[in-house]
Amino acid sequence: MANKLLKKENIGKLIEALNNEGSVFVAPTNPTSIPPLKKGDTGGFVVYAPVAKAEEIMFDYIIPRNSFKEFLFPQTEPIAAFTIGKEGVDMKGVEVNPKETVIFGSRPCDAASVASLRAVFNWDFKDEFYNRREDKAVVMTVACTKADDSCFCTTVNLTPDTPNGSDILLRETTDGYYAVEAITDKGKKFIERFANIFSSKPQAPSLQPIADVKPIAGIDVKKIKEWLKDTKHYENPLWQELARKCIGCGACTFACPTCHCFDIVDEGSAYEGERIKNWDACQFEFFTLHTSGYNPRDTQYKRWRNRFMCKFNFYPSKFSSRGCVGCGRCIRVCPVRLDITEVMEEISKL
């Protein structure tokens, strides 16, 4: 298995074969055809989206603007349907039978977030909407050969070629191939299924060097967790100071691959409609607002504090998984440049 290769030119064949079987092929692409702002800057305009042919794929990218969580946990998803008529009122659950979804060109950080989503959707109660989608997803990660200033995977103990969460890990070679490594059984079966597309090569491939992402020197994730675990630090005035500039737009949560919060609402007419799960964000004032008007997180710093705590304390302690994979999206999308790593540094100093 170690010597399997995937020729970049053959990806079109893979897409065709999958599309013929009714599968969805998701890859980094630029669906809007917006040209980059400056030459060589492509990262900002790349998104994970379904593609129909290889020409749509952007191969030169750092990280897509969205995470691929929307293919496992859609931004909006009907969970039940209701009818209100003369014969009475009824509600039936929605069945999901997702198509196989291949996520090509995932980044290792995004792949690492899958275990975190799986954990929250499965502790005790099992959310089959999530599970069925994740079961049908094949994560084909491409190890990073480039990074930008916002990338900080190594600071949270991942690497630009970490295999966690990937079914298949691809490493780019210097001659237009990917060196293929099956990480899971699912990945192994996938490679076997398309044996004609994945070629064998006797000699060891010459790999492109992996991106050099240096851990941020002043950050100690373990120390942060310990500091957060002490409930008296919850009242530290530092929180107000650090989160002061947050405007509560919630962009960080929508861009984040591990943020999983959602709302449940009914939509429809007086006669029929659907009950829908929608992404929501702990950064919004209404998120925790009681009917009485009381709000336990009534100011923005409390909401920001909650998100930070969730990432670096609740997720690791409660779900034994990562709340942060260091993808850096929250830094890139933040309109006020509230850099989570700066807060991590501040807390590491304490």
Partner: protein, 277 residues
């Protein structure tokens, strides 16, 4: 496919007007099998839904000893409770649950019980009260301190008058200053003050309290003054919830998901939590 978000269908069999904009629904599950097998423990909650308006979280206000139906009490104030208010007897609504933990009443055998509730905080406490009254011999003295903004705002007026006539219950009712009527015979004052004046003994006692967060805060102080330790005091933390099953991410108090690990806690447990409520 297993769908953890799909409610049972229930018929509203009866409606009781409790106070201005406060109603109690008696709900009977449509599915015979659910009707026969459904059980819960006192203190657990559910998600009640009006199709088209959405879901809201309330406790189950009836006692688990009363089989065949459940009750919920709500105040009309938002979209869902507004939708619930538009429903009448015979209409269909949804219920998911029971969820969460419960009051450990089996551990309270032989204890004196002090129930303290404010306003719309009585429904969860009422479930425990009836549960304990249905096994009255298991417990010692029972004291109930209940207050509301005004006489009109007191909920379960029939039951209050029933409890006031029972010789083995000490019921203290109060309304906030200004909320009394000319013929009001109860106390006038805030619940924590009235509780202190009632001087329930902490000896072999358990206190159970629910009400607005500010009331709970001062009730805990009053109980401490009376000599109750934090381990003797139970409360139910009802944060906003959407899923009820530990996924949607909003009911957490620090690292504690109220919907899964709560909503029932001792005051000692509450004091160990992050100050996030």
């Amino acid at each position: 496919m297993d769908n953890i978000y799909l409610p049972y269908l229930a018929t509203i069999e009866d409606i009781y007007e409790e106070a201005p904009d406060v109603r109690t629904f008696k709900l009977v599950f449509k599915d015979e099998k659910v009707r026969e097998t459904f059980s819960f423990k006192t203190g657990q909650f559910g998600l009640y839904s009006v199709f088209g308006a959405g879901e809201s979280t309330f406790c189950i206000a009836s006692s688990p000893t009363h089989r065949g139906y459940i009750q919920c009490t709500f105040r009309k104030s938002g979209r869902v409770t507004g939708g619930l208010s538009d429903l009448g007897i015979g209409d269909t609504m949804g219920f998911r649950g029971p969820y969460g933990n419960w009051f450990p009443i089996d551990e309270w055998k032989g204890k004196n019980l002090v129930f303290i509730a404010g306003g719309i905080g009585l429904p969860p406490v009422r479930s425990v009260i009836w549960n304990c009254l249905d096994r009255r011999k298991d417990f010692g003295d029972i004291t109930i301190v209940y207050g509301a903004k005004s006489v009109a705002d007191l909920v379960y007026k029939n039951e209050l008058s029933h409890w006031s006539e029972m010789s083995d219950i000490k019921l203290v009712q109060t309304v906030d200053p200004g909320g009394e009527t000319p013929d009001w015979k109860g106390k006038i004052g805030f619940v924590p003050t009235v509780l202190e004046q009632a001087t329930p003994s902490p000896k072999d006692a358990i206190a159970i309290t629910c009400g607005p967060p500010i009331m709970i805060k001062f009730v805990l102080q009053a109980l401490n003054k009376l000599g109750f330790s934090d381990e003797q005091v139970y409360t139910t933390l009802e944060n906003k919830m959407k899923c009820g099953v530990g996924k949607c991410g909003r009911c957490n108090v620090g690292d504690i998901y109220i919907c899964k690990e709560g909503p029932v806690y001792t005051a000692a447990e509450v004091k160990r939590m992050y100050n996030d409520f």
